[in-house]
């Protein structure tokens, strides 16, 4: 068991979410940065998709009632075990009764804490993910909560620090044009790729809200609601795009000007408020090729 002494700003249980239920209005949810989440699980020898904790900006204080292994990945964060500084991106052994304190995320936005065996809260619709948009899955961590640890480990803990890329303070996200690029003016498309977009403070797991020049529409038609994917750059009537993350709604009524490619979604998930990001267009083929060489 893990006992929550303090929950931090927003700490949730996440796994790979609930794909396959979007036609019933159930968001996929799951970890926002799948790359950092996957690395945390691999480091402690967990199966893919074992549930871990997603930590947002300010971390929790946790009492580890039994001994085991943990790994901390993603956004850079200072943490200690009973006062001893904890390295990131490596499996670390802990003893029964030790207290883990996770501080503030200093670069990036979200850190991931995997415990060997996985967080074993009950599954809801095939996932242990906290849905932050819909009332599905376990609640966010609260003071005094106790989290069971499961047995979803099938490898050895990895005791060497895994190489990771530093968080880019001005990330460039690759995107495929459309599906509704024809709703916008050519000028709007040039503006999308020619501007620096500031991440605003009302961003969350649903989407990264971007401030910058207004993206003008060619025509004023109302779009009939249609299905949405993670990475969609949806443009509401105010002209400021919202980049959908893992907990996006299943359908939406605003046109999607472009879709950020899967390989760059982890960069979007780590873009903290104030970050200035840029968009660059790539082809579908280039987007698929990028998936293979994405790195850790």
């Amino acid at each position: 068991m893990i006992r929550v002494r303090t929950p931090g700003l927003l700490t949730t249980v996440q796994d790979l979410g609930r794909p396959g239920l979007a036609h019933l209005g159930v968001p996929t949810a799951g970890a926002a940065d799948r790359r950092a989440f996957g690395l945390a699980n691999r480091l402690v020898g967990n199966q893919d998709g074992a549930a871990a904790l997603e930590i947002t900006l300010a971390g929790p204080e946790l009492e580890l009632e039994a001994g085991g292994w943990l790994a901390l990945t993603g956004g850079r964060v200072a943490a200690d075990l009973d006062g001893r500084p904890l390295p990131m991106d490596v499996a670390v052994r802990f003893e029964p009764g030790q207290v883990l304190r996770v501080g503030s995320v200093s670069s990036g936005l979200r850190a991931y804490l995997a415990v060997r065996g996985g967080i074993d809260v009950p599954e809801v619709l095939g996932s242990r993910s906290t849905d932050t948009l819909a009332p599905v899955g376990p609640p966010r961590l609260e003071e005094g909560a106790r989290l069971p640890v499961g047995d979803r480990a099938d490898g050895d803990p990895f005791r060497q620090v895994a190489p990771t890329r530093p968080v880019d303070p001005e990330p460039v996200l690759r995107a495929v044009r459309g599906p509704r690029d024809d709703v916008f003016t050519e000028e709007a498309l040039r503006t999308l790729i020619g501007s620096a977009w500031a991440v605003t403070s009302d961003s969350d797991r649903t989407g990264v809200r971007l401030d910058g020049p207004v993206l003008e529409r060619r025509r004023k038609v109302e779009l009939a609601s249609e299905g949405m994917v993670e990475g969609s750059l949806q443009v509401p009537p105010d002209g400021h795009p919202i980049l959908f993350l893992a907990n996006h709604p299943t359908t939406g009524g605003y046109p999607v000007i472009a879709v950020v490619i899967g390989a760059d979604l982890p960069l979007a998930a780590q873009a903290r408020p104030g970050t200035r990001l840029r968009i660059r267009f790539v082809s579908v083929a280039a987007a698929r090729a990028a998936r293979g060489g994405a790195g850790p």
Binding site: L21, A22, G25, A134, V176, S225, P249, V259, R291
Partner: protein, 204 residues
Amino acid sequence: MRLRPVGERALLVEVGELETVHRLHAALRELDPPGVVELVPGYRTLLVVADPDRAQLLDELAARLPALELPPAEAVAGEPVEIPVTYDGEDLEEVAGLTGLDADEVVRRHTEPEYTVAFLGFSPGFPYLVGLDPALEVPRRDTPRTSIPAGSVGLAGTQTGIYPTASPGGWQLIGRTDVTLFDPGRDPPALLGPGGRLRFTVAG
């Protein structure tokens, strides 16, 4: 039929009308194409989302789509589900005022048609229904409510719907039902699926 790429792992299939969306959805559910993880209907589109590791399979599917045989509309729609409603919503009198009808006539016109579930969205199990009597078209409330109880039945524009779970919302509330529309412990978790039909009745 027009296909639009959505990033590298999804296709938006535009078919023009809702009935064709539901027939295509049924055909693809039956076909169960390899690599496809989501089929999401909208009013005039079906979104096909592939597993990121098998996204290239979408190209084969895209080539097959125009020749795909669709089931007839009658085979897609199931039996209508009855939703008993207690018509005592907070906005019923206001809706009566806005439409120029009296409350009884609002109820009569709301229980008259058979509705089709266009698609689900906004929140899990939330059905967007088509078939509303145009006389019942009213604007959304100027200020959305911060919490609307589960089971509330509302109106907004050309839409009527039911809130499956408590949530904020701006629709005009005309009644409530005890029917559970969404239960994560049930399989399937949503009572109504895309293309399903329903009727509202006056709860006795």
